[in-house]
Symmetry: C2
Amino acid sequence: MNKSVLFRQIKQKRSFLCIGLDTEMEKLPKHLLSEGDPVFSFNKAIIDATAQYAVAYKPNTAFYEVQGSKGWESLEKTIKYLKINYPQIFIIADAKRGDIGNTSVNYARAFFDHLDADALTVAPYMGFDSVSPFLDFDEKWVILLALTSNAGSQDFQYNCQTSGKRLFEEVLSKAKDWATSEQLMFVVGATHPEEIAAIRQLVPDYFLLVPGVGAQGGSLEAVAENGLNDECGLLVNSSRGILYASSQIDFAERAAEEARKLQAQMEKVLLQKALL
Amino acid sequence: MNKSVLFRQIKQKRSFLCIGLDTEMEKLPKHLLSEGDPVFSFNKAIIDATAQYAVAYKPNTAFYEVQGSKGWESLEKTIKYLKINYPQIFIIADAKRGDIGNTSVNYARAFFDHLDADALTVAPYMGFDSVSPFLDFDEKWVILLALTSNAGSQDFQYNCQTSGKRLFEEVLSKAKDWATSEQLMFVVGATHPEEIAAIRQLVPDYFLLVPGVGAQGGSLEAVAENGLNDECGLLVNSSRGILYASSQIDFAERAAEEARKLQAQMEKVLLQKALL
């Protein structure tokens, strides 16, 4: 998927919501546990209930790998289900991979060829040659960690500097030379609203994937105020607040309600910025 | 496995060799391709041929994930085979994971509970709370990326500084406060021999996992000269040089020959340092 198609989806759905499929066996409604693949059954129900409010889904591989090869099967089935039933949805594999070049080639094939995700989150620590193999795929995206939403983002991302730039700013600056905004996005946590405006200056055209709204305490309004650009430029993620709105038989309807609330807030800020 | 058991294995085998199971379908001997699980068949043959020369095996997840859930099955079978047949071998899942805390908990369960690896490589970019969940497991190890063997290690690991310390030095300094040398090791590429002596000063008691010998051009002698401590303190990895020594029917014997050559070199430097 290219950037203009993504922006068209955002305008059609009046939403820049990404739903994080962080599906944990322990949190599933009890009545699903007797199914052959409870994780996939849950994802399917969540997707069907919320797809009208979301432009993207983001399964995080940790929640699948915890079940080993069986979990990877659930992941494969989930992405296939999305591809077949919702071909306009943008699929992000949140895997935070990154390794030396010939190894990253294999990660790229795993996520872009085998799984057929549209985008992969990638960790920048190992530098250019660990990222570049992911950029060799047409209409596939790298979403590079810049400033993450957790407390540990202080440890290195904030505190290390080069020529007065903090590490996450240096990652943004360097990575701009690696790929255009047609292939590269950045992860910026909603828990740093004060930084999002500055980051928007540094990378005006690039989409930002923003986790941390909801359970982690970030504010959607503050993110939108500081982060929207003239092609939206934001994908705001919510996971637990939607997935686990109810642990009862009504889990999918309650998830849809939460997704609809976020969509309504997003529509409001998109209208305010005259993007609709 | 604890550190003293690891050192005992090193002394018994007169080797600190780690064999990287970077098993690529395209590089397998043709006669294995008709097997039900050629990757596992290859790994089993390599392990049986080389286990007398190696103290550790290190499957890199990229080479398994490229086959999706089927690849994860090969990985599960490989680790199970090692655990059952070679219980004294140290198993490193080279996965370079790292995510926010509640997500890293799931990666820790995936690799330490489900797969039952002894150690996991972890990327430090997201800071303390992304690493700490991996430290909550008894006799399981975090191997934190410090200075990697690839050219891209220059981009951030070298060039970003805080109070005069380069990023990889800051990672070493901070991480020393997170865990002792009984739970934590560091990845330091053999392609930086000039740095290994300085790193040994910074973290005198910690094991270093050293990739980059062989195909990537690092020298075992230089690594040993600068990196050995009084409990050895080194695991030196070789992957392609051993795995693909031959692509014919004799691949396992040729792999054993290459492993034995490295073991002999290691025995020599261990004797020189009076560690045997």
